[in-house]
Symmetry: C2
Subunit: 386 residues, 2 copies
């Protein structure tokens, strides 16, 4: 197993890209990552995407994107694990390079959601839940998260207002991210008065969908990294775990066991513990998921996630900064692309290029991408080594 | 890189499984492969599937199937490359085990197509072609292959009847495969008189879709292989390559360049040439694809593929047996599962368990899985070593 490093990153601004096709979005991110890496070409392409079959009537994005970016004939596949498709693609690229089978790989997450009408998107997103035992009962994805949040509030005595810091922090950080969908700070009043989506989840608890693509070039750490002037950033932990796809099937629906397993494995590989992590790009698709991720990943005791926000510990100068470039809430959540945005943002922080929301002396960053309501969770730890 | 061996295989009969859900089909194949391997459990699951988002309204088949087969919490992903999704899952499992990251993995290909009405299936299959530059012009998948076949007949002077041996051989072999969709031999007369689908492709040139699942357990070759009494079967070659997704975009639409690249790489890894291959499970989704695969993989000169059939060289006692257990034409083509059926059949031959269509002393077998009209092609070579 070779050590693997990040050589280049690329991304497009998340938004409604009516003027760009799926392949153009992915292509823009891949080509800018390859350029950032100082390369002309890579050996393989791994694509993370969830919804292209339904939203864009296009499958086999491996060949589709490889050809578009000038990698015709290269090995190329699509990985899908719902909203963690991005990190799945990254992990596959990592495995391919670390095994020695591939020398240089690019992973890209891409999603073009605004081509589908709103009602269809809701149905398409629900394919991440259990079609027989959840969706057939009429549940949507936001409703599933609302049930989890309501239960959490009941079990641990939190009120709605205690979740405000997650959204306020994300929007405050998004201001500094030119690729974020929303770049306006919000107040606690705005949080509390936002329109209800599925009680207790309101608009300010829910991340916005969008069109986007983000990409990373991976190479063996002992080679090629001197091509660019960028610092060496190694992948020092990578792990994935699943849980039941149906939330009701878990003994404790308030414990993200797949996050606990994958983060523990990643810590072990890296020889680290939560206190060594300088910042954490977590999967705040809904505020409640931020709380649960912090707990399962060892940053807060069970049931205490919101306290970190109330204590002012989640902003860039806090004990465990999260959503440092806006998170899913403000940067946006183009589902199959999100995991790659998180990793691109970890690299941005480790390059000390995060500007207004830079975490000082950031050396070790973690990203965690969640598919379904916690059913497929992938954790990565990256380290800046020079 | 560790050597990797096949420890267990499992499959379900291809057909119209109105009484089984997607997860039951996949589960049946996985559990029978794990049982055949003599194991209770494996470390990771790789799922090949193309159409579940649209045909079954279910995504993230990694977690979905892992949970169903008792692998909750295990790492699990879905791979998609249209009709080569099965071999993509196998290659990913292979990489994971050979790299040392995973000790035991199961790859499963699954597709449940009969839940969708016929017209929808045609549209869903067309997502493997280029949505902008092929499908938007009204082309279907069979029409694309018909254009290729017509051009081939024109360029190389073949007539329709010269393709008959591909279909006759496949159906003759399918008789001996209890998991095949069709188990009746056909005559040349039946071939020539079959109803036209898209001229010159008639019903006997086109493989039938269906519901199915096939699975293989992979382990490091130096371990565990003594658990069962089965012979040791190693994976000695594995390679993947892409081509343009749109057929019109190729310099020569009659040359499967991705098959040439992936088979050459696989030969090189195995230290073999085409003459060393005892049998070849090729991707005869349409008769024309059998001819093109034989040519690009080095078994026939360019434009001479049909001659092998006319010379009686493709049946189990011929020079290069193909479709030995029915191929896509008679065994059936549940798209995302097909690549795994091909590999299960290679193992069946190497175990000398193919009964009436056994290739005598089969030691080295090759499988080639094609996604799209030749846009993502994966070649594997397996060897029986004791």
């Amino acid at each position: 197993m070779r050590e693997v490093a990040v050589l280049g990153i690329g991304q497009v601004k998340i938004g409604e890209h009516w003027d760009k096709s799926l392949r153009e979005l992915a292509g823009d991110a891949v080509l800018s990552a390859v350029k950032d890496a100082g390369l002309d070409q890579v050996d393989a392409l791994f694509v993370g995407n969830m919804m292209s079959a339904s939203a864009n009537h296009q499958q086999q994005l491996g060949a589709y994107i490889a050809d578009w970016v000038g990698l015709r004939y290269a090995e190329a596949f699509k990985l899908e694990s719902a909203c963690s498709s991005g990190a799945s693609a990254f992990r596959s690229a990592l495995l391919a390079v670390s095994s020695g089978v591939i020398d240089t790989a690019v992973a890209v997450g891409v999603e073009k959601m605004t081509d589908s009408p709103g009602a269809e998107i809701t149905a398409e997103l629900a394919t991440a839940a259990d079609s027989d035992w959840e969706v057939a009962q009429g549940i949507s994805f936001v409703a599933l998260n609302a049930l989890i949040m309501r239960r959490y509030m009941m079990e641990y005595g939190w009120e709605k207002k205690h979740f405000a810091p997650f959204s306020i922090n994300a929007h405050a950080n998004g201001v500094h991210n030119p690729n974020a969908r929303f770049r306006k700070p919000i107040t606690e009043k705005q949080y509390l008065e936002a329109g209800m989506v599925s009680d207790p989840i309101n608009l300010m608890d829910a991340s916005p969908i969008g069109d986007g693509a983000a990409a990373i070039v991976l190479v063996p750490a002992d080679r090629l990294h001197k091509i660019t002037g960028n610092p060496m950033i190694k992948v020092i932990g990578s792990a994935a775990a699943t849980d039941s796809i149906a939330v009701h099937d878990r003994k404790d629906p308030l414990w993200l066991k797949a996050a606990a397993i994958s983060s523990q494995k990643a810590y072990q590989q890296a020889g680290l513990s939560p206190k060594d992590i300088d910042f954490f790009e977590l999967h705040d698709a809904f505020s409640i998921m931020a709380a649960l991720s912090l707990e399962a990943s060892g940053f807060a005791e069970r049931g205490k996630g919101p306290q970190l926000g109330l204590d002012g510990q989640i902003h860039p100068a806090g004990k465990i900064p999260i959503a440092t470039l806006g998170g899913l809430k403000a940067r946006g959540h183009p589902v199959g692309a999100t995991g790659m945005y998180q990793l691109v943002e970890v690299v941005t922080q480790l390059r000390h290029a995060a500007k207004g929301s830079q975490v000082e002396n950031a050396t070790i960053g973690m990203a965690q991408n969640i598919g379904g309501s916690g059913s497929n969770i992938i954790t990565h730890i990256l380290e800046r080594v020079n």
